[in-house]
Amino acid sequence: MPPPLMQVQGLSVAAGGQIVQQGLDFEVRRGEVLVIVGPSGCGKSTLLRHLVGLEQPATGRVLFDGQDLHQGAEAPRAALRRRFGVMFQAGALWSSMTLGENLMLPLRLFTALDAAERERRARFKLALVGLNGGFDLLPAQLSGGMRKRAALARALALDPELLMLDEPGSGLDPLNAARLDELVLHLRQYLGTTVLMVTHEIASVFAVADRALFLDPQERRMTAIGPPQELLAHGPAAVRAFLGRAATA
């Protein structure tokens, strides 16, 4: 079995000076879709900010392909971070740039591609997410669903090995949320990208996850990890209640 792409070891994460999750130990396997799930306020997005290197852990460490994301000089860590693409909850598209410019900025800064090739790739990534005609649009001209898809396209700009998605379905109607789930699965299938997704939408968990990791807000630790159907059948009571409630809803 190949080594895991990401390893989280003894991680405690804090927000506002207080520990929100502690003692986290898990790994992200190459090619899988791992979903971090839990009720609102349990620290999912805070954990993701630590996993992408935006926050320093209170304790523990995060290894990406065997290298520590939080220790050492900034330049190699930044190079490491460019091997994953991040889709933020609100999209975080750079509002003063068109979608094309949003996708081409990382290509211009971090690849040797010429302008024509950069544009070709940006247009292709936009087409992959169903935004063929969106190259010259500004983020403000997009609907909520389009903005999410554009953010996904930008996360794919540098052909990342690991795609991290923060609540991709939040704020979308069920149909658009399901389309986005489908898109994520297609990208994993066709591009071979490993996916780490944070969500509280249980429909998404059952739709896309190979494994789900459950964060408990009361105990402030992970209480289960495994295939969602298995967790629903044999997981701890709180996890079964959480998954079951949504599964029967």
């Binding site: 405690s12 804090a14 000076g17 207080q18 520990i19 929100v20 502690q22 900010r49 992408v52 290197g53 935006l54 209170a58 330049a75 860590r77 930044a78 190079a79 971070r81 460019r82 991040v86 933020f88 909850q89 609100a90 999209g91 975080a92 598209l93 750079w94 509002s95 003063s96 900025l105 990382p106 800064l109 971090f110 930008r154 540098l158 807000p217 009361q218 402030r220």
Partner: protein
């Protein structure tokens, strides 16, 4: 509103000691206004609601508050005879309170002022490093970003800078003329206005105008980007926000400042000529010649230095507040206000310090 029975008039409740237990018998639909009983006599308290005829949300809130007060004083509280709806409501509130234990603090939060000062010093250091990297060719600033900021800061600020400096020039001429007239030295009025505008006031007024017009805009733009996680998206890619966002704004203001200063000073000097000629009888050509005579290279470079310094402070205050804003709409407003206030304080402090320093150095 849940209510077991229609409300009836309040009645007064009071504690009684019964078999070593503090008892509070509720009746009617009383709102509670009772002090906690003494814990020296008994540490047990019982609230008997058997005779309660009705309740409303006010009584529920009073009971909830009473229970908390009693527990804070070390009393064990027992309820008896609560109506079903009221008991469930209080249980719901209790469950909500117990849902989350207090989280462990990860580190002590430093004092606000100390924290702010540390952020400012760190930010200044980051800007200096970014400037050094840019000058050394290790970092790249997009020309289009600088041009966009030049457009925002320069032409659109020019009219208000010209107007303000012209009005200050008029005031300076009036005040200076009144004093000089007393000793018959109106001939020096052009020199006073020229030196005053070029060396001190054009830069100061330009800085003040830029702080309100441009510094606030910088703070609002960056704070909005921060709230929308746009800056996080840059950081994840390894793009330094200071190079990508702060340097274009700083460079645009530094490039635009000399032009604004020059036009501002000229406007002030020209406007000062009006009262000088009309009120104090200084001839127009005499005013012009005196102005040129008074305008030495020292005044010019000191005025330019001060103006550039103020422009840099405006850009730094705006960017510092924007980059370190919170992640809400309210935080954007706070950052904008703080940027203007900080820029003004920094400008006035710098003006005072440079005036004292240059005078002490004999300039």
């Amino acid at each position: 509103m849940n209510s077991a029975a229609p409300a009836s008039p309040s009645h007064t409740s009071a504690w009684r000691l019964e078999q070593g237990v503090w008892m509070l018998h509720l009746a009617g639909t009383a709102g509670l206004d009772v002090a906690a009983p003494s814990v020296d006599i008994s540490r047990r308290a019982c609230i008997d609601a058997t005779a309660l005829k009705g309740w409303d949300i006010g009584l529920a809130a009073s009971l909830w508050d009473l229970r908390a007060r009693l527990q804070r004083q070390g009393l064990q509280v027992e309820w008896s005879g609560l109506p079903a709806g009221l008991a469930e409501l209080l249980a719901l509130a209790q469950a909500g309170e117990a849902a989350r234990e207090p989280a462990a603090a990860v580190r002590p939060v430093p004092g606000h002022a100390l924290h702010e000062a540390r952020l400012t010093i760190t930010f200044f250091g980051e800007v200096l490093i970014a400037l050094a990297r840019w000058l050394g060719g290790a970092a790249r600033v997009r020309g289009s970003d600088v041009l966009q900021q030049l457009d925002q800061t320069g032409p659109r600020s020019a009219p208000i800078v010209l107007l303000s400096c012209a009005l200050v020039g008029v005031m300076l001429a009036y005040m200076g003329g009144a004093q000089l007239e007393r000793i018959g030295a109106q001939g020096f009025l052009a020199g006073v206005v020229t030196v005053g505008m070029v060396r001190e006031l054009a830069g100061l007024m330009t800085g003040v105008i830029l702080s309100g017009r441009v510094g606030a805009a910088f703070a609002a733009q960056l704070a909005t980007m921060r709230a929308g996680e746009e800056i996080d998206a840059l950081r994840v890619l390894g793009v330094d926000p200071v190079v990508h966002l702060v340097l274009p704004r700083l460079l645009a203001l530094l490039l635009m400042a000399p032009a604004l200063l020059a036009f501002g000073a000229l406007a002030g000097i020209a406007a000062g000529a009006v009262p000088a000629t009309l009120v104090y009888g200084v001839g127009a050509s005499e005013y012009l010649q005196q102005s040129l005579r008074a305008l030495t290279a020292t005044h010019l470079w000191i005025g330019l230095f001060k103006g550039l310094l103020y422009a840099a402070l405006v850009a730094l205050a705006g960017c510092r507040e924007g980059l370190h804003a919170g992640r809400s709409a309210e935080a954007v407003g706070r950052a904008t206000t703080a940027a203007v206030v900080k820029a003004l304080v920094w400008i006035v402090t710098a003006a005072c310090a440079t005036t004292v320093a240059f005078t002490a150095m004999g300039y």
